[in-house]
């Protein structure tokens, strides 16, 4: 196990360095620089002045040197400085301000999806081929095929704009910054929108996993010894059916973040996803790169966590 952990840790580090190098290289092919707007509106007219500015933030150096400087700073926990959306401000500060909001949305979204998926999956498996099961099957096809941003717009249109049941964006009403109820009220629509895809996928997954365990010998044994059906289901079958779901959930974290980008964009939720969209729109590459690197690290770490969690929940597996 120790050998496995060490090997995987080295692998993760190498992957992250290579991935960041590739992204850094591609992004630096982009035309333009941090002072384009100033050049365009004639605030900077002297080309030598522009050169000096570029030199000041290290843009005069060749690509590999810039990457090495950047990765050195990143390894010291410094993601650089913003180019346009908050010029000169540290990317760390900008992202740190957004992290709690994204975490809030993602954790509630994850827990909500899990809860609904477990309920739907269990009902579908226990009542296989019933009307309810078929309805849930249709629902999961809907959930997989519907683009999250369209679903978000529809929710916004009907529950926000038409029925006025929920706010149309933001995380709190004016002057109600510390009102938890108000924050919860703002959270409901984005949370539902973010959850749809995961609910659709996880409920199907749990259904087939539970159907598989319900066919196992130990379930038959439990029934044979006269165990009541509810306990057969929850004590014997259900726990084992959840094992593979652990991996699926760990691997869903990156896609959850992908969904959060659009959810945050639509509901004006000031999180990392919205930051990425505005950074990309303003060609603020250091900020965008910072967000993507953090997500890439999260993706790689989630894969690792899935492997480790699997060993932990299933003692039969060894590395």
């Amino acid at each position: 196990m120790t050998r496995f952990l060490v090997r995987r840790t080295i692998e993760m580090a190498v992957t992250l360095v290579l991935a960041s190098g590739l992204l850094f290289g591609i992004l630096n092919l982009a035309p333009g620089g941090p002072f384009d707007a100033q050049v365009a509106n004639n605030r900077i007219q002297d080309p030598t002045y522009l050169e000096r500015l570029n030199k000041l933030i290290g843009l005069d150096k060749p690509l590999h040197e810039r990457y090495l400087n950047w990765i050195k700073d990143v390894l010291h926990g410094d993601l650089g400085q913003s180019w346009t959306i908050a010029r000169g401000q540290s990317v760390n500060t900008i992202i740190a301000a957004r992290v709690p909001n994204t975490l809030m949305l993602m954790t509630t979204g994850l827990l909500f999806s899990l809860l609904i998926a477990i309920v739907i999956g269990t009902i579908s498996a226990v009542r296989q081929y019933s009307l309810l099961d078929n309805v849930f099957t249709a629902f999961s096809f809907f959930g997989i095929s519907i683009p999250a941003f369209w679903f978000g717009l529809i929710m916004l249109k009907f529950f926000g704009v038409e029925l006025k049941l929920f706010p149309i964006g933001g995380i709190y009403s004016v002057d109600k910054q510390n009102d938890l109820l108000d924050r919860g009220w703002h959270l409901i629509l984005p949370m539902i929108v973010l959850s749809l895809l995961q609910v659709a996928q996880w409920s199907r997954f749990l259904r087939s996993s539970l159907l598989e365990t319900l066919r196992q010998d130990y379930v038959r044994t439990a029934r044979a010894k006269g165990q009541i059906e509810r306990l057969v289901l929850f004590r014997h079958a259900f726990r084992n059916a959840l094992i593979p779901l652990v991996t699926v959930i760990a691997l869903a974290v990156p896609s959850l973040f992908g969904g959060a980008i659009f959810t945050e964009h639509i509901f004006a939720w000031p999180g990392m996803g919205q930051l990425l969209v505005s950074a990309v729109g303003a060609f603020d590459w250091p900020v965008a790169m910072g967000v993507v690197i953090i997500t890439a690290a999260l993706t790689i770490f989630a894969n690792f966590l899935a492997d480790v969690a699997y060993v932990y929940v299933d003692p039969r597996i060894r590395y």
Binding site: P31, P147, K157
Partner: protein
Amino acid sequence: MATTVSQPSGLVSLPAPAERVATLPPARGELAIIWDRFRRHHFALIGLGVLFFMLVVSVLAPAIAPYNPNEIDRGITEPAYVSHGFAPPSAQHLLGTDELNRDMFSRVLWAGRISLAVGFLSVFFGALIGIIVGALAGFYGNWLDTLLMRMTDLFLSFPFLPTLILISAMLHQYKFEGDTTVIQVTIIVAVLAVLGWMDTARLVRGQFLSLLNRDFVLAARALGADGRRIMLVHLIPNSLAPIIVAASLNVGGFIIAESAISFLGVGVSPPTASWGSMLASFQAYLRYSAIAVLIPGGAIFLTVMAINFVGDGLRDALDPWLRNR
């Protein structure tokens, strides 16, 4: 009873060889068998119908669309519609107009061309890259396998949507010579293909590894076939079924991905419409129109669902072992 005996008793009469052949069921091609299995999946059939309809309508868009999709109708005089657009459906405009009073129906038709083209082309090229990488890794093994699979892992470590948005935005900044729409579609297809080949590569490699020791491959080797021939004639055709299934299930995802980046403004740019960019421009006008939100998104939804059903049917038809799982 004994009047018409013409054969010695005790011998069973055998039909002539020609008759025996005729009593067997007619030989049927593999495609016919697959189609038979596919047909039993009712949703897949409906999906195929919807998809076919979408494809025909998109291909024929120039003939069907009543207006130029980018033409602003100056004939609309109602002050409210002049100021914020979104005239309701009428005889002139079947689905009403958009925020600039362009014909919604024509725009949806033309947008479909882009969305469908991107979906199918990107999956095709993605699968092509995946097949090449997977085939080389699976067939030659050794250091090449290690190298290519490490590369696959590397690409898998990119978070799909953030990377897609980042690279699309970067390429969006470039100014190219030529038809903007064609260039942007090419860019989107290329980026999607480069970010979406890894599953196919792993699939093909796995298939190759399991096929390499089968008798028919050994026989081909014994007959002196070279690597290229074994790959192209024996291995790839035999790996095709799972590739097609995976690819067909990818089309929907890539159509959504295209509409997603166009929705964020780094895909197809105005005035050209894709379903995603239409939704993006309607986002600010949610107050004025419900139909504007429902139509382009509904088109994406319907197409993607149809494709997912077809993919599901294909999986059942091509791979009976995967059934009921």
